[in-house]
């Protein structure tokens, strides 16, 4: 509901990297729900994955009269220049999901992508008995999350000498691309035991490509914990995914922004743990996240605050 936002006295700008992905839609929804609850007027901008656009939107936030800016950087390095003018004019900056390089922001609220990659790697290794061929579905080349998830996963999987990465191909975080790319990779690698997809959308595409093999002959690992992803975990087609709790990220970010505006103290580093979700624990995530109502997301807070 936007009913109370028009009358609210606080204006906060939320700069989202892209809404082309349910993950960020969740993040926005979490933030919006919290903003409505606490009476903040939330101004949302979508940078469509372009750093320069995001910098433009940071400038425009000032024109809009935002008292605090929440940034979900398209790219951590590039965000440095974007937030510099905000910081120098004493507008609180909260970084969410991804960091702002070399910058002391008011608060950094994120899940750790490198850690998430590690979680997936270990789970995968265990599930396939620490040996066999696997393939990786990479995110958009050059994107920060691709780098971090790839690095976390590969560094960890290197610890298992009998696991070989037979192929790595990009599907640009996209479900339909993953469908084709997986089909093609299976063509040249028939003896694959598992697939690591750097997000759930691609994992879902891989499921489509594998058909009945998904979750049986070939185990699929995802990342994000989106609604569809969690449902697939429950169905057993995705073996495990890394839940990022995007709604919590959004909610925490709004709380931090409001506190900063009011001059209250804000925790500088709030790391929202990423959690491995498997069939065993999926129920608890599903109950809170599969519903789109805003209050249910706040009830999941308990799982993640430190």
């Amino acid at each position: 509901g936007t009913s109370n936002s028009s009358s609210s006295q606080y204006k906060v700008s939320l700069l989202v990297s892209t809404m082309n992905n349910p993950f960020f839609v969740d993040l926005r929804d979490g933030a919006q729900a919290e903003a409505d609850k606490v009476g903040v007027d939330l101004l949302v901008s979508d940078a469509q994955n372009d750093s320069a656009t995001q910098q433009n939107q940071a400038q425009n936030a000032v024109s809009q009269g935002a008292q605090a800016v929440i940034i979900n950087p398209v790219d951590s390095d590039a965000a440095t220049a974007a937030v510099a003018p905000l910081i120098s004019s004493n507008i609180p900056v909260i970084a969410v999901d991804r960091a702002v390089t070399d910058t002391t922001v008011t608060s950094y609220i994120a899940s750790d992508n490198v850690q998430g990659g590690q979680l997936d790697a270990d789970a995968l290794a265990k599930a396939i008995g620490e040996s066999g061929k696997i393939v990786i579905l990479e995110g958009t080349p050059g994107a920060a999350s691709t780098r971090d998830r790839g690095q976390g996963f590969k560094d960890e999987i290197a610890k298992y000498p009998n696991i070989q990465i037979a192929a790595e191909q990009t599907a640009n975080f996209d479900r339909s691309e993953a469908l084709d790319v997986t089909t093609n990779m299976m063509q040249s690698n028939s003896d694959i035991k598992a697939i690591y997809a750097e997000n759930d959308e691609m994992a879902l595409g891989a499921i489509q490509a594998l058909g009945s093999k998904a979750g049986t002959d070939v185990l699929i690992f995802g990342f994000d914990g989106t609604d569809d992803g969690l449902k697939a975990v429950q169905a057993g087609t995705i073996y495990a995914t890394v839940a990022q709790q995007p709604k919590v990220l959004g909610q925490k970010a709004v709380d931090a922004a409001l506190a900063a505006i009011k001059g209250e103290s804000v925790e500088a580093d709030q790391s929202i743990d990423v959690k491995l979700v498997t069939k065993d624990n999926v129920a608890q995530y599903l109950s809170s996240d599969s519903s789109t109502s805003s209050d249910s997301s706040s009830s999941s807070t308990s799982t993640s605050t430190e």
Binding site: Q169, D174, S176, M185, Q187, S188, Q208
Partner: protein, 361 residues
């Protein structure tokens, strides 16, 4: 500068079609020449067959490039030339091919349609939402999606014909509007589709429905373009708009029909995408317009209009799918992949121009 170049070159060399300046593919002449060249040996029937093959090759853009590419891939990896992989390529090119068939109408009529990807996404979202949240009969949801696509195309056509917006602008605007509406109605989330929709993405027995759909749409497009008067009007409007007008062809009507068909074909592509993913994705077919346009141009059409064939477009779409499939199978690193894709496209299309040049001498 080839958007409009070929057209001009051809017009300009009226009466000397075979000179150095003209690199147009003379409709129906290349084959004759070719046939003559291959005509020394064999019986007359054989000769005629060869001539027909030669004509087909010379009329279909990058076919030679495609064949070379396939041969290279067949040698590079045994995984390429398997029955299964060939079907895969077929399935993988289906969506772009269907979009490109629709795009062929537009390009033949000297326009461009940037909205096809977004219209495909919106149409499939309509199919999903009317089913999932509104509980319509599955057939009705598909009909609604197809009508949506045709309606959006018609709007672009009206903007082009009556508001006189350049088609680039009209369809750029439509792309933005359609994508935005998709996000709005879906709230940015995927929506699952009915099993009827999913049928169009599935493989029934050994028959992949995406390929069936593609072939049907290709045949329909080919019939429209070659055998109906509205199809022929597209060539006339694209080849010389004023001449078409002076001959009593309704340019406006042609323009509107062209975009309506493009929208309708986009909706069919949307049906196949959704069927394959068992869901309508808000970002479905993002950027596919470029692949569709590239298929048409690779297939020998000119963005200046008046030229283009469904068979050429088909070759173009297959070419793109083969490149991607091959690179995947060969596991080329995703960074280098882009480099290689660019080089292969350039190579495959220039094979065609080189062939034509040699042909002309």
């Amino acid at each position: 500068m080839s958007i409009a170049t070929e057209h001009k070159a051809r017009v300009a060399t009226a009466g000397n079609g075979g000179n150095g300046g003209s690199h147009g593919n003379g409709i129906g002449t290349g084959g004759g020449r070719h046939g003559g060249a291959g005509g020394s040996g064999g019986a007359a029937g054989n000769h005629r067959f060869l001539a027909a093959v030669a004509r087909f090759v010379s009329r279909n853009g990058a076919l030679v490039g495609l064949v070379i590419l396939c041969i290279v891939l067949a040698f590079a990896t045994p995984a390429f030339l398997t029955a299964n992989n060939i079907l895969n390529v077929g399935i993988q090119c289906a969506t772009v091919a269907i979009l490109a068939f629709g795009q062929t109408f537009v390009i033949v009529a000297a326009g461009i349609d940037l909205s096809v990807g977004a219209v495909a996404a919106f149409s499939s979202m309509i199919m999903a939402i009317t089913g999932a949240s509104m509980g319509w009969n599955p057939w009705l949801t598909i009909l609604a999606g197809l009508l949506t696509g045709a309606a959006m195309g018609t709007l672009s056509g009206i903007a082009n014909a009556f508001l006189r917006l350049p088609s680039f602008i009209a369809t750029l605007a439509m792309m933005s509007v359609a994508r935005g509406l998709t996000l709005v109605v879906s709230n940015g989330r995927p929506v699952s589709t009915s099993s009827l929709v999913n049928f169009f993405g599935s493989t029934v027995g050994h028959i992949p429905m995406p390929i069936v759909t593609m072939v049907v749409m290709g045949v329909v497009a080919s019939i429209i373009l070659n055998l109906t008067s509205i199809g022929r009007s597209m060539y006339a409007v694209g080849g010389n708009m004023e001449a078409a007008r002076l001959s009593g062809i309704s340019v406006h009507k042609t323009q509107i029909v062209v975009f309506m068909l493009s929208g309708l074909f986009a909706a069919v592509a949307g049906l196949v995408i959704a069927g394959r993913l068992h869901s309508a994705q808000p970002q479905a077919a993002d950027g596919y317009e470029m692949d569709a346009i590239a298929s048409v141009v690779i297939g020998g059409a000119s963005l200046a209009g008046g030229k283009g064939k469904i068979s050429g477009t088909f070759v173009g779409a297959i070419l793109l799918a083969v490149i991607r499939n091959g690179l995947n199978i060969l596991n080329v690193s995703s960074f280098w992949q882009e480099v290689v894709i660019g080089l292969v496209i350039a190579f495959a299309v220039s094979v065609d121009t080189v062939r034509r040049k040699v042909d002309a001498h």
